[in-house]
């Protein structure tokens, strides 16, 4: 790969919808997809006279996330109003957190098991709570330029996680998002559904270039509207190239022009400049007088930290050491989520072989899941039943090829491995029987014996074929070794 003429500097802002039943400041449902304006009440409609009351559960979920992202949680945090006019913002301000966020100064470690980038610590500036706005729906197609507002979403709790610009490639940005999403899913603090807007990403991107005058930075561009991690990766890559071209043309440096906001057009695979928002950027933040500040004790934070489940990173390390599997395997399994890890662990424990269990999960279980488009919960063979098969393979009762036949038969029948093997007449051949077969075939093939004695080990192949015909249950590996051992002694 030729040396890139620039370095890409990427910072990400991730809005996560917390998995609460109700909104941040009222008790309306946060369920997705209800008819417009059916999940509203005087409070989230900003009826004159109404007051917000904080949803404690949302704060707890935010604390869990903060602990998992190594963020400091101050003893005191408050709410602020961010004032601006927009039709989907019924109060005319958004309740958010400004100068005293509920958490700050954390980090997330990212790495790539394929080694495409060096492991990196991405610093997290802050994570703060805020309420979502509503949705404007513009019916311009009908020619009436009609606008409607759905306020079901207003007041939905969001955690905004802001990273430092510590990422240097689209791949790293994707890895950061993937790991972040995985953590949120393991914690159960969000369903992270990007289609439903539970996870929204804005990327701040610019370039550092080496010029004869020294290092220069291009103006920062914020990219919005990316609705998949793939889109994030592509949008950043596109934007980097675009900025490089603009740089060559204009030589504009950071500070020469105001920060620009561009939207990602997934159809056209380009970023496009967005119209300037119809508001000034002076949000006139000030402390929200309708809400009491939130205080937490050291003990509360410690309790939350202690209550966290095993996080992906710890889990990978444990799987590697406990089940003696390679980092790559642990990564694949952990990245499938908690349920798959549970499945794998049962399989490994009951089947008695961690690596075999890992192979079976990666090759067969994931293959079937993918073919059928199902989650691990819907996978038809329980870990207990599959463990029977893994055990048989580990105990050399059955070879890998035949095991796949057994697996196919087990899949939708509900039968155990033992039952299927019995039906197929598969049983372990005991050592004396195997030895007899071996001697019989060696005696009938003196040429093979002499070849083996001379060290031409591949000669044994003929015998394996003949043996399999006589007894399909023999384990080819064991048989092969036995023939070699016996022939050399003859």
């Amino acid at each position: 790969m030729s040396e890139s003429p620039y370095e890409i500097i990427i910072g990400l802002e991730v809005h996560v919808q917390l998995a609460t039943q109700t909104k941040l400041f009222c008790r309306c449902s946060t369920k997705y997809g209800a008819p417009p304006n059916t999940q509203t009440c005087p409070v989230c409609l900003a009826m004159p006279g109404t007051l917000p009351v904080m949803n404690r559960h949302a704060f707890e979920l935010a604390m869990q996330t903060a602990c998992a992202l190594n963020l400091e949680i101050p003893r005191f945090t408050k709410w602020d109003r961010k004032n601006y006019y927009y039709p989907d913002l019924p109060k005319g301000y958004q309740i958010s957190q400004y100068d005293l966020p509920m958490s700050q100064n954390g980090y997330l470690l990212i790495s790539d098991p394929k080694g495409q980038f060096e492991p990196r610590k991405v610093r997290i500036i802050r994570a703060h709570l805020e309420e979502d706005a509503g949705k404007s729906m513009h019916d311009e197609a009908a020619g009436k330029a009609d606008s409607r507002i759905d306020l079901n979403r207003t007041g939905t709790p969001l955690l905004e996680i802001v990273s430092e610009p510590d990422m240097r490639s689209p791949l790293e940005a994707k890895a950061y998002l993937t790991e972040l999403k995985l953590i949120l899913e393991y914690l159960g603090v969000s369903d992270c559904n990007m289609q439903e807007g539970s996870l929204r990403v804005d990327a701040n991107v610019n370039l550092h270039l080496q010029t004869p005058e020294g290092k220069v930075a291009t103006p920062i561009v914020e990219i919005k509207n990316m609705n998949s991690f793939r889109a994030v990766e592509r949008a950043i890559a596109y934007e980097a190239e675009r900025q490089y071209e603009v740089w060559q043309e204009t030589k504009q440096k950071i500070g020469d022009v105001p920060k620009q906001t561009r939207g990602w057009d997934d159809q056209a695979q380009v970023t496009r400049g967005q119209r300037h928002k119809e508001e000034s950027s002076d949000y006139r933040y000030f402390p929200e007088p309708d809400l009491a500040p939130v205080t937490t004790t050291e003990a509360e934070v410690a309790a939350v930290a202690a209550s966290l489940c095993e996080l992906p990173r710890q889990l990978r390390e444990r799987l590697e050491s406990q089940y003696k599997i390679p980092a790559y395997d642990a990564d694949v399994i952990v990245n499938q989520g908690k349920k798959t890890v549970d499945y794998y662990e049962s399989l490994a424990k009951l089947g008695g072989d961690g690596k075999l269990a890992s192979n079976w999960v990666q090759q067969e279980v994931l293959r079937i899941q993918k073919e059928r488009g199902i989650e691990i919960e819907a996978f038809p063979i329980t870990a207990e039943r599959l463990a029977g098969l893994v055990k048989a393979v580990a105990g050399k009762e059955i070879d890998g090829t035949r095991a796949k036949d057994v697996f196919a038969e087990m899949l939708d029948s509900g039968k155990t491995a033992a039952d299927v093997m019995k039906e197929m007449g598969i049983e372990k051949v005991d050592d004396s029987e195997l030895e007899n077969l071996c001697r019989e075939l060696l005696e009938a093939n003196p040429k093979v014996v002499s070849d083996l004695k001379e060290g031409t080990l591949k000669a044994v192949g003929v015998l394996i074929g003949q043996a399999k015909k006589k007894n399909p249950n023999i384990d080819p590996g064991t048989f092969r070794q036995m023939c070699i051992d016996l022939a050399t002694k003859m």
Binding site: P48, G49, T50, L51, N83, Y85, G92, R284, P289, D290
Partner: protein, 513 residues
């Protein structure tokens, strides 16, 4: 004594004994409103039908021997900024002229639970901004003691209806003195409770950190009865004080032995009307004669009260009133006309070729906001929104808002220090008695000074009460103010009652035609 002049305490006894019915009482109040309110203008809306229905229902339930609420059958007037389900709630603004809330404010819920009869909605300064009720966009209220004079504000209607005997009890709100100052101007009692004692849920906010709902009545005892009905923790208001509500109506008659009063030095300086000063000094002597010890106290930062208030209150107001944007709540301009006008302006600019002006032309959305708000809000509200927007804007925030918050803390500390040595502080409620309507409307700053002695209680979050203590030579009432430490409402009411056992200022009534 005629029903309309009687105290709520007396009326409750008479209702309970069956001597009178709620329907009789309600009709008497309605008749008085009919007779006098054309001139006084205390009410924006008289809820004749629902009030009579409510009264009938209370009477019927009483007959059946059902257990009734604390205010069963007593008419109560409501300042028109408390959301009342199904009733237009206007804040005396064109902006909300047609706003019908789908829910009740917590105070309304409590009054209904207490079986009070909601008799009507009273006039006020628009969005509670003002000191004379001259800023109402929907009607004029005059002082029952002299119809040329203002009733004070912003709870002008709430005070005037009591003085004119149209209702025995009324609910006001106080952001910088809006209960106490009109109480003083109208010769009635008004209590601003400690912040958090009464839920603000359903109070259309002016300045959230200062607003407090409070009881108004003609005696301290009645004030105690009403406060007991409306106070209490409310889970719907995060700033609500989670404390048990004392039995104010029971304790109000207990005299305070060894009451230590602090006379606020700063309240007797420049700007204090001499007649007011004389009456207040005389009231202090009454307290002395009742056994109270009186010492001087100093609230050195109180001189910054008005300045701090006029930074904090407009700041919060600018944000609280943003929801009245024509898109969600409140008046919306005539869109067709607005779009037509905008198109004209665009065409003119295009013809002129002035790209810069053209680029700065409103979008239709912005023009809709702009024009709706321009049409819906009155001048005082606009003035304060402008002030608040300015003081919160980047670059000025530290110099104004943040500094005001710091001084606010110092004001609270002054009180804390004073209350180490005295039980309550005492002084005038307002620097002058009521003045003639129209005399200060062109001078907002002069009007703002009317809150000089009251505003610090809001900034400190403590309680204060105003009671009648005399009259000027021209026959206008004068009020004295007592302020107490946080949650000292019982003490305030007891001290007020004590004074009223020794004086009869509160029993005087204006002569109305």
């Amino acid at each position: 004594m005629s029903l309309i002049h009687a105290s709520a305490a007396q009326l409750l006894t008479q209702l309970e004994s069956g001597e009178i019915t709620s329907v009789e009482l309600t009709k008497a109040c309605l008749a008085q409103i009919d007779a006098a309110d054309k001139e006084v203008g205390a009410f924006l809306k008289v809820m004749t039908d629902s009030a009579l229905e409510q009264a009938e229902s209370v009477d019927a339930r009483r007959k059946k021997g059902e257990k009734l609420g604390r205010l069963a059958g007593i008419p109560v007037a409501i300042k028109d900024l408390l959301c009342t389900k199904g009733e237009v709630t206007t804040c005396a603004s064109k902006m909300l002229e047609n706003f019908v809330p789908p829910y009740d404010a917590t105070v309304i819920t409590k009054l209904k639970a207490a079986d009070a009869v909601l008799i009507g909605k009273t006039n006020m300064d628009e969005f509670a901004m003002g000191g004379s009720t001259e800023n109402s966009a929907l009607g004029k209220t005059r002082n029952p003691w002299n119809l040329k004079c203002v009733p004070g504000g912003s709870s002008g209607g709430a005070a005037a209806c009591l003085a004119a005997s149209m209702a025995p009890l009324s609910i006001g709100t106080d952001t910088g003195g809006s209960i106490r100052q009109p109480a003083s101007f109208c010769g009635v009692v008004g209590l601003k409770p400690t912040y958090g004692v009464v839920s603000r849920y359903g109070l259309i906010a002016f300045a959230s950190s200062l607003d407090q709902i409070g009881p108004m009545a003609r005696s301290a005892e009645d004030t105690a009865i009403l406060l007991e009905a409306i106070a209490g923790y409310d889970a719907k208001d995060s700033t609500s004080a989670n404390v048990k509500t004392p039995a104010y109506s029971q304790s109000v008659k207990q005299p305070l032995k060894g009451l230590r009063l602090g006379v606020v030095k700063e309240h007797f300086g420049e700007g204090l009307d001499s007649e007011v000063e004389a009456s207040v000094r005389e009231a202090i002597n009454v307290y002395k004669s009742l056994g109270a010890t009186v010492t001087d106290v100093s609230l050195p930062h109180s001189k910054y009260g008005i300045a701090v208030y006029y930074i904090i209150a407009p700041s919060e107001a600018s944000s609280n009133l943003a929801r009245f944007d024509g898109a969600h709540y409140g008046h919306r301009c005539d869109e067709a006309k607005m779009l037509e006008q905008l198109a004209k302006e665009r065409a003119a600019l295009e013809a002129s070729g002035d790209e810069k002006l053209l680029g700065g032309l409103d979008t239709s959305l912005v023009r809709m906001y702009r024009q709706s708000r321009a049409e819906g809000f009155g001048p005082e509200v606009k003035r304060r929104i402008m002030l608040g927007t300015y003081t919160l804007s980047a670059g000025y925030y530290d110099a104004y808002y943040l500094k005001a918050l710091k001084v606010r803390r110092l004001i609270r500390q002054d009180y804390d220090a004073a209350f180490k040595n005295v039980d309550l502080v005492i002084g005038p409620t307002a620097p002058t008695p009521s003045f003639e309507a129209g005399t200060k409307t062109d001078d907002p700053l002069a009007m703002y000074l009317g809150d000089l002695y009251t505003v610090t209680a809001n900034l400190a979050g403590i309680g204060g009460i105003s009671l009648p203590c005399g009259f000027s030579k021209s026959g206008m009432p004068i009020g004295i103010q007592l302020q107490g430490p946080p949650l000292a409402e019982e003490r305030l009411l007891q001290a007020a009652h004590m004074y009223q056992t020794a004086t009869d200022w509160h029993e005087r009534r204006p002569e109305l035609s």
